[in-house]
Symmetry: C2
């Protein structure tokens, strides 16, 4: 190991780096959490309704402090700042996650749908009230029978030209809206997704696909409106402070103008029109405008991981157990296995943090550009959001579990926070897009890129293409020239056979991950093509290649996460903090290479001796980082009043 810090890295300096450009907003969000730090403890003694009302009150309070409107237009009390919205959400995730999810439903999903799918009259009518939480709402997309496959939902909105209204109907229980946040108790209205049915010129009903409508649910007294039936989803694994519900519609009528008509409209006399002719493209464009939820949930997963790691690392630095006779017992963090459990998770949390920062910046840029952005940039953003969200939320599940176990019985007590962290974050892996489905989208997107370019799935050309794509993406960004050059030189010199280079060379690490990505993507493309060429049933071909496709997607996701980390480190000024994060980068990269080292061996990219040296390097890095463990978690900046656990 070549880096030796001259002086110790400072947690404060790292914290500034992590908070980034939204430091001021994050500070305000932290102040808000500190102000309400006692809420979670108090909530324990409340019954469910009172807890939920308390959660709602906090959401309203956050709105009053201006923490909720960053993403809305300034004209309606917002900040015209999409990135700010993500930063606020990520930071509020240090606190009670029911509050966070309720916040997300109200401002991100419900407000986001009105904002992105609606047009000026809708914004005028509702956005100011939504941003201030005077109008509470739901996002009614998922149905019992259809979660991932939104295009197949079965709620209908049928246009009645005679009255100029849409009539919303739930055909059967399988089509009831389900798991809808805010619905069971507080929502006054909802953005309801339904198949839009309009009579065609021949008088026959025509389905124009999924659209969203603004539908009032409750009157001022809180009673459900005629035709609306709502049930509580009952006790959940976590997030008990969110009032998830089921909704049935029976002939519910709303004015024609309640259709959120940015991507599809119906004239008073019943003629459908849309700026996007292709129904599939229209559908995916509409869904794409709602990517914010995905961006936010991944960020929340990373924040939750930071809380768990802060608790477990501080415990490990204090707790003693076993040791030589006559000596004080040994601190847990001095055990090699304990270092092996915690340090790679800390390193990966840093990597994901910077990947998330990059994602949030792309999101901000694309949405700020609005219609001026390109289709290609939007698609790249959606792919990046899906990849980052999957990795971040699976990381949260794994990290919180490992940290709980690393705190033993103490970790099992609710007072030490793991109970809520574990239960509340559990759904992150399957809501706002099931992680498996999201990775599949990433994988399919990679294949589409190839096919668009070549008109066919030719492996060799493809692999070359993917390599170039990656280099271009790098080049577009702020990564220092030196790394790009090193990567390119290295790619030229070592494209085949045993790669040389120092294990601790970031260019080597990145090249390893890119090689894997290219090769797996190319080979799954070849397999799919061979299956189709052979005339096998496409569903069967897909089923057989699905695991492989997901491996391609994961490989892509891992590469962009590492790239984000290395780019960040490269841009840091020299000093002990950069030295420390460089080491964190090594640990993250080599842990990933160690985890999947079989792949590189199988593909002639790693000798068995070198594979063993990767394992040794991970051991050494874990040990070397031990003395900086507290610095690394202190830099996460979890507000201290939220860390008043007993252990």
């Amino acid at each position: 190991m070549t880096e030796t810090a001259q002086t110790r890295a400072d947690a404060g300096v790292l914290a500034v780096l992590l908070d980034g450009e939204y430091a001021a907003l994050r500070a305000r969000a932290r102040d808000f959490l500190v102000e309400h730090a006692s809420f979670h403890t108090e909530a324990e003694s409340l019954d469910r309704d009172a807890y939920r009302d308390g959660v709602r009150d906090l959401v309203v309070a956050a709105a009053a402090q201006g923490l909720t409107g960053s993403g809305f237009p300034a004209a309606y009390g917002g900040g015209d700042d999409f990135g700010g919205n993500v930063a606020a959400f990520e930071t509020l995730a240090y606190g009670d996650l029911s509050v966070l999810v309720k916040f997300g439903v109200q401002f991100g999903l419900f407000g986001g749908a009105i904002h992105q799918l609606g047009t000026t009259p809708h914004h005028e009518a509702w956005l100011a009230d939504i941003a201030s939480a005077r109008l509470l709402g739901s996002f009614a997309m998922t149905e019992t029978g259809h979660g991932s496959n939104v295009q197949a939902i079965r709620t209908t909105a049928t246009y009645d030209a005679a009255t100029g209204e849409f009539v919303i109907d739930t055909p059967d229980d399988d089509a009831r809206k389900d798991y809808i946040g805010n619905a069971a108790r507080h929502a006054q209205a909802a953005a309801v997704f339904a198949q839009l049915v309009v009579d065609g010129p021949d008088g026959q009903p025509e389905n124009h696909g999924v659209h969203a409508l603004f539908v009032p649910l409750r009157d001022a007294s809180g009673a459900t409106l005629p035709g609306v039936r709502i049930e509580d989803c009952g006790t959940k694994l976590g997030l008990q402070g969110v009032d998830n519900g089921r909704i049935w519609f029976d002939g519910v009528r709303v004015p024609r103008t309640n259709l959120l008509n940015r991507y599809g409209d119906v004239s008073p006399d019943g003629v459908y029109s849309s700026p996007i002719d292709n129904p599939d493209r229209r559908f995916f464009t509409m869904l794409g405008t709602l990517v914010q939820g995905r961006v936010c949930v991944g960020g929340a997963g990373i924040t939750a991981s930071k809380v768990a790691l802060t608790i477990a690392t501080r415990y490990a630095a204090e707790r003693r157990q076993f040791g030589a006779a006559g000596q004080p017992e040994t601190v847990l963090l001095d055990y090699g296995q304990h270092q092996r459990r915690l340090m790679p998770l800390i390193a990966r949390t840093y990597a994901l943090h910077f990947a998330q920062e990059r994602l949030a910046r792309d999101f901000h840029e694309v949405f700020t550009a609005g219609d001026a952005t390109t289709e290609r940039r939007r698609r790249a953003l959606e792919s990046r959001a899906a990849a980052t969200k999957s990795l971040a939320t699976w990381h949260a599940t794994r990290t919180i579990q490992e940290c709980r176990e690393a705190c033993g019985g103490a970790g099992y007590l609710a007072v030490n926070r793991f109970a809520a962290l574990k239960a509340d974050t559990d759904v992150f892996t399957t809501f706002e897009g099931d992680n498996t489905i999201l990775l599949q989208l990433v994988g399919k997107g990679r294949l589409t890129d190839l096919k668009d370019e070549f008109g066919s799935l030719d492996g060799v050309a493809m692999a070359r293409y993917v390599g170039r794509q990656a280099a271009e993406t790098l080049a577009e960004k702020v990564i220092a020239r030196s790394v790009i050059e090193r990567v390119r030189d290295a790619a030229r010199g070592h494209d085949e056979g045993e790669p040389g280079g120092d294990l601790l060379d970031p260019a080597y690490q990145l090249r390893m991950l890119r090689t894997r990505e290219e090769r797996i993507t190319g080979s799954v493309a070849r397999r799919l093509k061979a299956g189709m060429d052979a005339g096998v049933d496409p569903a069967e071909v897909f089923s057989r290649c699905q695991h492989h496709l997901l491996a391609a997607a994961s490989a892509h996701a891992e590469r962009i996460v590492l790239e984000a980390l290395l780019t960040k480190v490269e841009a840091m000024p020299a000093g002990p903090e950069r030295d420390l994060l460089a080491k964190v980068g090594h640990l993250h990269a080599l842990s990933e290479i160690e985890r999947d080292r079989a792949w590189w061996m199988e593909h002639g990219r790693l000798s068995t001796e070198r594979a063993k040296s990767v394992t040794r390097a991970v051991d050494t890095l874990c040990r070397e980082l031990r003395d900086d463990a507290l610095t690394l978690v202190d830099a996460f900046g979890v507000p201290e009043p939220l860390l008043t656990q007993e252990i």
Copy 2:
């Protein structure tokens, strides 16, 4: 794939195989659960105290039906049947896990301590009342400051010769008893573990190490006795129906005869005596008698995995999502990735089931033999219990998580059981021995075996020895001769270099796992020896090798689990059930080889081409087993009334 079932395997036949020799007792336990199936639903509406009282009532009811006393002597209402106790515990784990854990605390831990550490007068005084649940008690071992390192607990029991009493004291908050089940509300007494202090001949107090005493906690009205202070541990991650508490003792006096004196006694005039002179050996012998808890918890983890897999597999066989246009959507179980998620977990559950069956039989035999058993057999049992418990409980955590995610949002609703399964089983990985510590014990035990044999840690001799050990263990048992011979022949022919043999040959699979076990054990021994020889601080040497030592222990544990599965399949009569379980065995073995295939490649035991063929074989097996998935989970025999989930 060579096996093709002529007719389909029958779930009923498999169920009989799984229930094994305790089928009748398991049937009674299932009846009990069915009778009380509504309890968990009702419990949701109860406040915490009422829920806990309900749990206690069920424990008492189970005792009344004779489900709780199998392990106790017949003279006190028991069945003289240690194995029966484990079978009842495993089966009751299909139901509410708070009931199960309370059951374990009362009959296994509290009753077990009186039974195993006490002598006839103690049995006469208390066992009948414990077996019938007339006397409820706690097992007060763990302290806030010491969980894993029990030998360092700091509660004291000081002998007062003047009154013929022991005086129990908690020196400070770090030494309070913590997480003690049954303590916060119901226990009338406890088996309290404390350092036994007796004045020596010179009048100076002497510490004789950890011993257990019977200590009354509450009077008939339920009030705590003088000198006893008890607090509730508060809300936990799960198991809210168990009243865990903290206990402080301040000068609490109990008669001298309350010392559970099987392994250490104090005469009325204050002279300490023990049948075991060496204090360390005495301590570990005492702990060893309490191995039942570990045996039971591993079994419960397997049962919980069965419940989760039954729910997720049935859901996957019904739920449709996505598919070709104009076609019915595709059933989840037809997706390659979904098969990849569920099938290896089902296979591993079968493997662990048979490993647990073997463990329970060993436990029964060793404890039935009592003092007639050998030190070596006891040590082997403890190692097997530690290995099986670690693998089984980590498997439960992983399986329940994967199944929850595989059911999406529906999996997040409490009504579908994953919430309770996840929360209640979470602590299994760290109680009754932290899994990491347990695996460490397994690893150290392997090294001790080597050292005892050779007086030194010589790698080559060791590896040969370990191989022989394994063969002997096999030979001792009922495994069919054919497998032993195949394994031995194979070991002779292919001890070095690329192994030949069919991937679907059980002898090949077992040889792969044994090779790994021998090599890792040998190499960690060499590293430890080299470090010590070089004069490095032993704690530092251990810390650096700890991860490696745990890998050796895991490799051992994986080998004995596979061996149990293969032995079972080998003994089955020919037929579709055997064909099916043979395939399950292949999937389990090859999944493990796939997971860690890097190791075999690094050690020259697997070519890269063969490694890829392992992955292909796993893919194929997952697909081939798809149509038997429901049969395999139906055979688990989860009582249907406990599966009334909505999904």
